[in-house]
Amino acid sequence: MSAVEAAASPAPSEWRRAARDTLPMLLGFVPIALVLGAQAAQKGLAAGELVLMTGLNFAGGSEFVAVDLWASPPPVLLIVAMTLLVNSRHVLMGAALAPFLAHLPLRRALPALYLMCDEAWALGIADARRRRAAGLGFSLSYYLSAAAMMWSTWVAFTGLGALFGPAVGDLRPWGFDMAFAAIFLVLLRGMWTGVRAAQPWLVSLVAAGSTYLMVPGGWYVLVGAVSGVAAAWALGGRS
């Protein structure tokens, strides 16, 4: 293999490492993608149109909101504005990832950010921190492999959901949706460095939980994240 090819395709061991960490996550992706596809079909979106949306946008939360608001003709501005709002947390996520990606040329960093869904980002940043603790640099191969597996699973199963949704029925009784909570809690444990550093998490949990109960829509994620970050800023001045 030439050096150019070696640089273009992920090292096999990094790909395998990413697959091992990503597979449990895909278990959570599949039922959610099928549900989104089934809802989209009900709203009159063709499978091709939905696949275009999930492939180009690749942010599940905003896609559920878009399908929920969908009509014929679609309310273009409302859907685009809600997408911006629901995904505003990505600004913080990109900022947190910036120190790890800063050494990359833009032609590699910008496409990598295109695939930055919550789960790819969470795996990528958890891996980056482990590697930093071991004196290693960011593994773009690991991150891209994980993100590409998530992207292809998401696009394929949202499309299948739109084609066969009505026949699949309700998957919620089978508990698959809890997979994301389990994954995120394991990732949080990996980020745990002590009660003090985790205080902002508690602020986020309380703020997001109470916003969820009081305000309809996806606001709770933004309110929770911003509240926790504000708490971290306030606590950061001490010690």
């Binding site: 997408t83 911006l84 809890m178 994620v221």
Partner: protein, 97 residues
């Protein structure tokens, strides 16, 4: 043929989402951060993750609370895959009660 308004909506969504993904990185990539700013950024991942799953912790359905409690205990002790399997199984079980 795809409807032009559908295409416009999808392209608008994609542009909105990509801008949120690129802007935080572009703003910070050439900066040297203060110690406080670094600490704040280190708190971001946990804050985002816990906020996304926060609704699980305030469910009005006691079965869902049992499921998230078991998930929390499993996540504190076990590797990823066993945690996910236990969590999904317990959730399915409580929903069938």
């Amino acid at each position: 043929m795809i409807d032009p308004l559908v295409l416009l909506t999808v392209l608008g969504m994609a542009a909105a989402t990509y801008s949120t993904r690129a802007v935080g990185f572009l703003a910070l990539r050439n900066r040297t951060l203060s110690r406080r700013a670094t600490r704040v950024l280190e708190a971001v991942p946990g804050c985002v993750l816990i906020s996304v799953i926060a609704p699980r912790f305030v469910s009005s359905d006691p079965r869902e609370l049992v499921a998230i409690a078991v998930t929390l205990v499993a996540a504190a002790r076990l590797p990823l895959l066993p945690t996910v399997l236990i969590s999904v199984a317990v959730t399915a079980l409580t929903r069938h009660l």
